[in-house]
């Protein structure tokens, strides 16, 4: 196995593998209705997340999911007060939706936590998408950190002028808050777009057919293995769901 230095099995997987797993999971969970295949998928997806070995992240994510579960149960409890008939359907029906959410969380966490903004550009290149998708997606990734920085500067400049952006100002002065935040950010982004457009014209982007990449991403043995395992479990769970097994 050809693991990159310091990376565990899951971390070393090609980003495309992680994307395929996430997409397959999001499609499978909406088909499956039976508890047993959902539990199987939850177990295998949790194992996948566990192999990522970011235990703190796993703990906090599950704590958050549990909190959301309690919040939803609380909302449903209020609904039950209004519609008492619901109680007769049992607690299990409240449980299944959260199994689905947990499966989705397990697969997307691995994808999101291991994808750094700086690596995403090489990922985009490796996806071999057309230039008209590649360029705006690249620009979007490039400007996410820039706009975080710009926003910080705008907020600080407002702070200096005596306008704090917080829940109170947003709640009681939404119109002024929108304007104070909105105008500088829009103007900045329009100017940025103009500057970058000029730079891209001058560099001749979009006039050449092929895009090459110095950061090569290639499928390796672990990618094929884990995709095979994923397909197997999805087929198994579907067969169980439709009582074909």
């Amino acid at each position: 196995m050809n693991l990159k230095e310091g990376k565990n099995f899951v971390e070393a997987l090609d980003i495309r593998t992680k994307m395929i797993i996430s997409i397959l999971a999001s499609l499978t969970v909406i088909i499956i209705q039976e508890l047993a295949p959902l539990l199987i998928l939850l177990s295998i997806s949790f194992l996948y997340l566990f192999c990522y070995r970011k235990f703190k992240l796993i703990f906090f994510s599950y704590a958050f999911l549990f909190f959301m579960f309690l919040l939803a149960v609380f909302c449903v409890w209020i609904l039950l007060k209004m519609v008492p008939d619901m109680a007769s359907r049992g607690i299990l029906i409240f449980f299944k939706p959260f199994l689905r959410v947990a499966i989705l969380m397990n697969t997307t966490l691995v994808l999101v936590a291991s994808a750094r903004v700086s690596d995403l550009l090489s990922v985009l290149k490796s996806l071999k998408i057309p230039f008209f998708l590649f360029l705006p997606a690249t620009v979007m990734i490039r400007f996410i950190p820039s706009f975080i920085n710009d926003t910080k500067q705008v907020v600080e400049s407002l702070k200096m002028k005596g306008h704090n952006i917080n829940p109170i100002s947003i709640t009681f002065k939404p119109v002024l808050t929108t304007r104070l935040l909105f105008i500088p950010l829009v103007v900045k982004s329009l100017r940025t777009a103009d500057d970058l457009s000029v730079a891209s014209e001058l560099k001749g982007f979009g006039y050449y057919k092929n895009i090459t990449s110095i950061n090569k991403n290639k499928f390796a043995y672990p990618d094929y293995l884990i995709l095979f395992v994923t397909f197997s479990f999805i087929v198994l769970s579907l067969l169980m769901n439709f009582k074909l097994l």
């Binding site: 550009l121 290149k125 400049s157 702070k159 200096m160 014209e201």
Partner: protein, 465 residues
């Protein structure tokens, strides 16, 4: 190399021509400077050389521009860019990626150049431009000088024979400007033709062969570098030389208890090196203090501490002899950032000042008058010129009636006339009882309006404290 034959150009939706009947000839290996007041048509000349005008900006053109003997009308922008490389004022706006090596490779990757050739070209340029220590750095962690170097190297990878630079020194400190001048001299030596447009002129003295001075779209003067000095006042230019300031340095002797006193200030960013350690200073009130030092020395951090945006790890700050907490500093200070776009929020200039104070409307009118903005009161602030916008943000900062006013590079990209106006506005602020601090590399501005200098040097203390 570059030839203009009776060129007149007008941008779309504009009534007046940006340039009129320009004829000039720049020879191979020549380094030419083009200067003049804001809006005189300097940047249009750049756009005409690299083909952005009229291919990108559209508009109407008469006459012909030839680059390497080929008429720009017959080529598309990307074809012209094989001959002409353009470096803009803020190189970060030209970057498409987040790391230096990726940025260098990106232009070639988008052209489908083979990976091995790209790697070889990067290795070469890495050595030529001394980029090895920063080759894997995040672009946001680079200094302005380093960003310039990366942008220049990225252009160089496209192998142009002509290099044009649009206000390259606007964001550079003195040391970085000197380094850029040295690099340009080396490129000139290698036979490259260089066309520079800039307001700051002193750093170009030794590399420029010829100077064009533009006014209202016409070439009014042409000659060697000495004409800049002779014609400075006539065309509202910046100075052609910098004098070493003889302003009084802030030297800590004892606390004055009338302005800002800083006692044993210590500050470091989490997980980073110390920026200030047991720092003491005493700054008199109602004066203009220029904060100078290299990029990364801690000037901005000093300003953030003084405005209460950063909290001290140790030490105290006194205002008029009384100890003051960061949240109170926030109320009593104003900070004007370098980029005015971040600080203009409202629909009119008048409203921009009104949201900063709770006084009667007359106060706004007084301020508008004071800063020469009365005739723009109903204009949208974003539609003003750079110098006018700078005045609006200073007026808005003063509307808050702060006791401390800090300005970060207020004259970056401004011509001589606008710099004078900003300098006057700064001086006027002190007459309102404000202690003004200017973070700047602009020696002309320091000479014009500051009363004191505070030198902040790496790693962590003032030169004289």
């Amino acid at each position: 190399m570059i030839k203009f034959k009776n060129v007149t150009y007008r941008y779309p939706f504009q009534e007046e021509n940006a340039v009129n009947s320009i004829s000039m000839h720049i020879k191979k290996g020549e380094t030419v400077l083009c200067t003049g007041a804001s809006g005189c048509g300097k940047s249009t000349l750049i756009n005409l050389i690299n083909g952005l005008a009229p291919h990108y900006f559209k508009g109407e053109i008469e006459g012909d521009v030839f680059v390497n003997g080929i008429n720009n009308r017959d080529r598309k922008i990307y074809e012209i860019s094989k001959d002409v490389g353009t470096l803009f004022q803020d190189p970060e706006h030209q970057f498409f990626t987040l790391n230096v090596k990726d940025e260098l490779a990106f232009g070639l990757e988008c052209k489908g150049v083979d990976e091995k050739i790209i790697e070889e070209a990067i290795s070469k340029v890495e050595k030529d431009f001394f980029l090895t220590p920063i080759i894997n750095s995040y672009i946001f962690h680079l200094s302005e000088g380093e960003k310039q170097k990366v942008a220049l190297a990225s252009i160089f990878l496209q192998k142009p024979s002509i290099l044009i630079l649009d206000e390259p020194s606007a964001n550079l400190d003195i040391k970085s400007a000197k380094e850029l001048a040295e690099k340009l001299a080396a490129l000139k030596e290698s036979g490259m033709t260089i066309f520079i447009v800039d307001h700051r002129l002193y750093w170009l003295k030794d590399i420029v062969d010829r100077v064009f001075i533009l006014k209202e779209g016409n070439i009014c003067e042409e000659g060697d570098f000495s004409i800049v000095e002779k014609k400075q006042k006539e065309y509202g230019l910046r100075s052609s030389f910098v004098c070493h300031s003889n302003k009084e340095e802030i030297v800590f002797k004892s606390f004055l208890k009338e302005g800002v006193d800083i006692e044993n200030m210590s500050f470091f960013h989490k997980g980073d090196k110390t920026i200030f350690s047991s720092f003491n200073a005493s700054i008199p009130s109602k004066k203009v203090v220029a904060i100078v030092g290299e990029n990364g020395a801690g000037k901005t951090t000093f300003a953030r501490i003084l405005t209460g945006l950063n909290k001290l790890q140790d030490g105290k700050i006194y205002l008029k002899g009384e100890s003051i907490k960061p949240k109170d500093l926030l109320k009593k200070s104003s900070l004007v950032l370098q980029n005015t776009d971040y600080q203009l929020h409202m629909k009119t200039v008048e409203e921009e000042l009104e949201v900063c104070h709770k006084k009667e409307k007359e106060y706004t009118t007084t301020l508008l008058d004071f800063f020469g903005l009365k005739k723009f009161a109903k204009r949208h602030p974003q539609s003003l010129s750079a110098g006018q916008k700078q005045r609006v943000v200073i007026a808005a900062a003063i509307a808050k009636e702060p006791e401390i006013l800090i300005l970060d590079e207020p004259t970056s990209g401004l011509d001589g006339v606008n710099m004078d106006i900003v300098a006057k506005a700064i001086k006027n602020a002190t007459s309102q009882g404000v202690s003004v601090f200017i973070i700047t590399h602009d020696l002309e501005l320091i000479e014009k309006c500051s009363t004191h200098i505070l030198k902040i040097e790496k790693p962590n203390c003032t030169k004289s404290s």
